[in-house]
């Protein structure tokens, strides 16, 4: 009896490994090997064409004084302002839709369409919307007598413009996550709170918000990781990195260096710094989350 069970266990374990083998092998081949290769390249003067020469920390030293890298880093972080805005808006939307208002599922579809659309198509669409003369946005502003700026070619408006777009694009996804989270909050908590005489804000503050906290944490972590790697929309909407390089992100700069200027070694060094940056930020978030989390049970 016992022997039988352990054999079954063993077999199941084997199956289990087999099932995870495909993604693990894929990850090793397509992620780990390139990462290792690029990590080495970061310490060389590789131009992507000829052989690599080891140059130690030269690339990293150069990074410290690279004005464009600092600018790109700043831009990348600046564009993340969209993350809290998106989170607040989608939480509000999710709560609205949760009240069972008219045509809820239609709204869900509408908000979700941008999420499943190709980012390239969206970027082109918004490029037109932001056009200074004929763009939808400026036409709309025109109805209120506001003369809109030429969004993408002014260094002061290009970042807000991009933030607007990313918020719009991510809204549906975040909203859906929140909606699911809100719907799984046990009704009994709300009933109990109402019996105790809690008002709407108190209910939100002390029940809804804590209950959706794991989702918020997930969204913040994934958004920051994604936000650090913004590239496609920048490349399409401002192919030169924007006026005075005001919309270039780190990944955009890496790409320009690697594929435009034959500096793959240097680009790898930047990629490594970016990778470490993301890792550290994520680590800090997990630490903070640990400290402030609590159990319902």
């Amino acid at each position: 009896m016992k022997a039988e069970k352990s054999k079954l266990y063993r077999k199941e374990g084997l199956y289990g490994y087999l099932f995870i083998a495909a993604p693990v092998i894929g990850f090793l081949i397509f992620s780990m090997i390139p990462v290792a290769y690029s990590s080495y390249a970061a310490f060389t003067d590789w131009d992507g064409l000829s052989q690599m020469n080891f140059i130690g920390l030269e690339n990293f030293k150069a990074l410290l004084h690279d004005e464009y890298f600092h600018k790109a880093m700043f831009n990348t972080i600046f564009l993340m302002i969209g993350i809290p805005i998106g989170i607040i808006l989608s939480l509000l939307l999710a709560m609205g839709l949760n009240r069972g208002i008219w045509a809820t599922s239609t709204f869900r579809v509408i908000y979700y369409i941008p999420v499943i659309s190709s980012i390239a198509a969206i970027a082109i669409l918004w490029q037109w919307a932001f056009n200074g003369d004929y763009g939808l946005i400026n036409q709309f502003l025109g109805y209120f007598g506001i003369e809109g700026p030429n969004w993408l070619s002014d260094k002061d408006t290009v970042k807000p413009g991009l933030i607007l777009m990313t918020v719009w694009k991510g809204l549906g996804y975040t909203m859906l996550l929140y909606l699911a989270a809100i719907q799984s909050v046990p009704k009994t908590y709300y009933e109990a709170a109402k019996l105790d005489g809690a008002n709407a804000f108190q209910i939100f503050r002390h029940i809804t918000l804590p209950m959706v906290k794991p989702v918020t944490f997930f969204i913040v972590v994934t958004s920051i990781i994604g936000g650090a790697q913004v590239f496609t929309e920048i490349n399409i909407m401002t192919p030169t990195g924007g006026p005075e390089y005001s919309s270039a992100t780190v990944v955009f700069y890496i790409w320009e260096k690697a594929f435009g200027n034959f500096q793959l070694g240097y680009a790898s060094a930047m990629a490594m710094v970016l990778g470490i940056f993301i890792f550290v930020v994520t680590l800090i978030q997990f630490k903070i989350n640990e400290k402030t989390s609590y159990d319902m049970d």
Binding site: G26, L49, N131, S153, G260, N261, F262, Q263
Partner: protein, 451 residues
Amino acid sequence: MKNKKFNILFLALFLMIGAVLSGCSNGGSASEDSGGKKELTFMFRGQPQEQAAYKAVVKKFEEANPDVKVNIVVTAGDQYDTKLQAAIAGRKIPDVFFYNPGQLKAYVNSNVLRDITEYVEGSEGVNLDDIWETGVAKYQYDGKETGTGAIYGLPKDLGPFALGYNKTMFEKAGIALPDKDKPMTWDEFINVSKQLTQDTNGDGKMDQYGTGFNVNWALQPFVWSNGADFVDETYTKVTVDDPKFVEALQYFADMQNKYKVTPSIGEAQSLDTYQRWLRGQLAFFPVGPWDMGTFEKELKFEYDLMPWPAGSTGESAAWIGSLGIGVSKTSKNPEAAAELAMYLSADQEGQQALIDQRVQIPNSVKVAEEWAADTSIVPENKQEFLDIINDYGRSHSTDFTYNGEWLDYFFANVQPVLDGKKTAAEYTKEVQPKMQELLDKAVKQEEQSKK
């Protein structure tokens, strides 16, 4: 029973890994003989109508050379460089591919491009004398300088960037048409532009302008015709702080800020001025050969070409763009690959197909001259394109440097000058050191690549 299941699972897994691995090693592989045929990979980019034209030419090449099979890899314009670079880094270089003259040195020094001089000179189909000398020179490199030495490619086309004008607008305003031989002076250009900058429907807002140039493409003719350049003759020193350069840049910015002959600030984005030109709101606008097809269909007015206004040298200047067709050094069938490259560049029928699409001018001097004289093809003064190639056209400065980063810096930060927030003198003084630093880096990179 269970065992069998297990085996199947195992098999499936192995197949999957196998597929992944082989996909890795075989992807985009070049020139494996299959069934006795020589296989070539041809990688290129282009607008949809260009793609169709090139595919047709390749098909014809295959018919003429039954022992050769050509695999076509085509990408959208903005992804091309990335894909090519990735192919090179992975040492899976396509046998025949398009490349930018600016990449010539880097690709030769790192053994990406093959010297095809012997094939070109020994070829029956290609008469080297009949292809624009300027065009071939763009792909010659003697190990030190470009423009002479071994041939590392042939021009796909030459793109002389001419200045066009709205003929109908001139006629309506009763202004004499620009001379097609004698360039305007800068003052004359401003005067005519001022006369044509009008409010035609009387709503108090300007709706017709002299011009609206995109600085990235249109600053060069002004700089060069004023006797200045971005870089010195040795291509090692950035010369944007030269007073003549400053003057040209200031003049360029003044068109908008001082003379007000262009759409106002904030409307100068290239798409917009291009749209305005299409709508007939601009008197002058740059025209490249690739524009002819669109302009023939879209423009509701007549247009023609003229020399660029001339600065202090009294002579026009314009740039000639180009895209080259090169052969990979690692190609296993270099002869067939060189044949294909030559066929694409110089084959008469293939060329005709592209010319009919109105996307380029003929690579053959003889055909081009006949084409320019053919008045049924708009614009009438196509000779201006040929004049640029023969007389006053120049290559982009970045064609001679290892990379274009130093010049990108100039254009990326120039907006405040165009907006009138900075003077040209202030700006050029400010960016010169930084540009120099980037150029120094490119020079150093070039030296290293030769090792």
